[in-house]
């Protein structure tokens, strides 16, 4: 069974603070993704990666950075968190565009920025 693990599950941060969301996958997938889910918007792509050392901007990258130090790990970094970044964040791994097209999602991180 494919496994994508996110941490933390819940996070409360203060405006202006730094937040790091972590994601680990044991699927050996090349591609990893960060999405946020908001009512009325579905899942919106923030950043994605084709492999270790690579990060690509998604549709809503402003205010976020990403880091892919290894095949297994992909982090989302909010350097200066704002209340508008309060959301549920999902990490996923998969090989869309390749042979294994299914995206496997983590359980999500609920972030509240006060």
């Amino acid at each position: 069974e494919a496994a994508v693990t996110q941490s933390p599950r819940n996070k409360v941060a203060v405006t202006g603070g730094k937040v790091t969301l972590s994601c680990n996958q044991t699927n050996n997938h090349n591609n990893m993704y960060w999405y946020r889910q908001d009512t009325g918007h579905g899942l919106r792509l923030i950043h994605y990666s084709y492999g270790a050392g690579s990060t690509e901007k998604g549709d809503i990258p402003d205010g976020y950075k990403a880091s892919r130090p290894s095949q297994e790990n992909f982090s989302l970094i909010l350097e200066l968190a704002t209340p508008s970044q309060t959301s549920v964040y999902f990490c996923a791994s998969g090989d869309v565009g390749g042979d294994a097209e299914t995206l496997y999602f983590g359980s999500g991180t609920r972030l509240t920025v006060l």
Binding site: Y35, H41, L43, L45, Y50, V96, G97
Partner: protein, 113 residues
Amino acid sequence: GQQVKQSSPSLTVQEGGISILNCDYENDMFDYFAWYKKYPDNSPTLLISVRSNVDKREDGRLTVFLNKSGKHFSLHITASQPEDTAVYLCAAGGQGGSAKLIFGEGTKLTVSS
């Protein structure tokens, strides 16, 4: 603008009926189309997907219809059951081998018994 759009935020169907969920997309380079299911407080999971070289795919009670000229695809669920109640997210991508997958806003399906 929204590249992948689900115009119906909600849909209610009687148990045993056919649920039809619709999705429109803008980029005619997309060649991969998928439907994901999401229960509250859970992560999305893949239901069914198609490549652009087919216009229909069936899997049990699920059928995906793809209309490339109309930039539209749909999910039909026959014999709908209360456990089908969930949010359904359509997604498109794979253009030229790109790994980018774009999701629609979701449609909340309620199957009433």
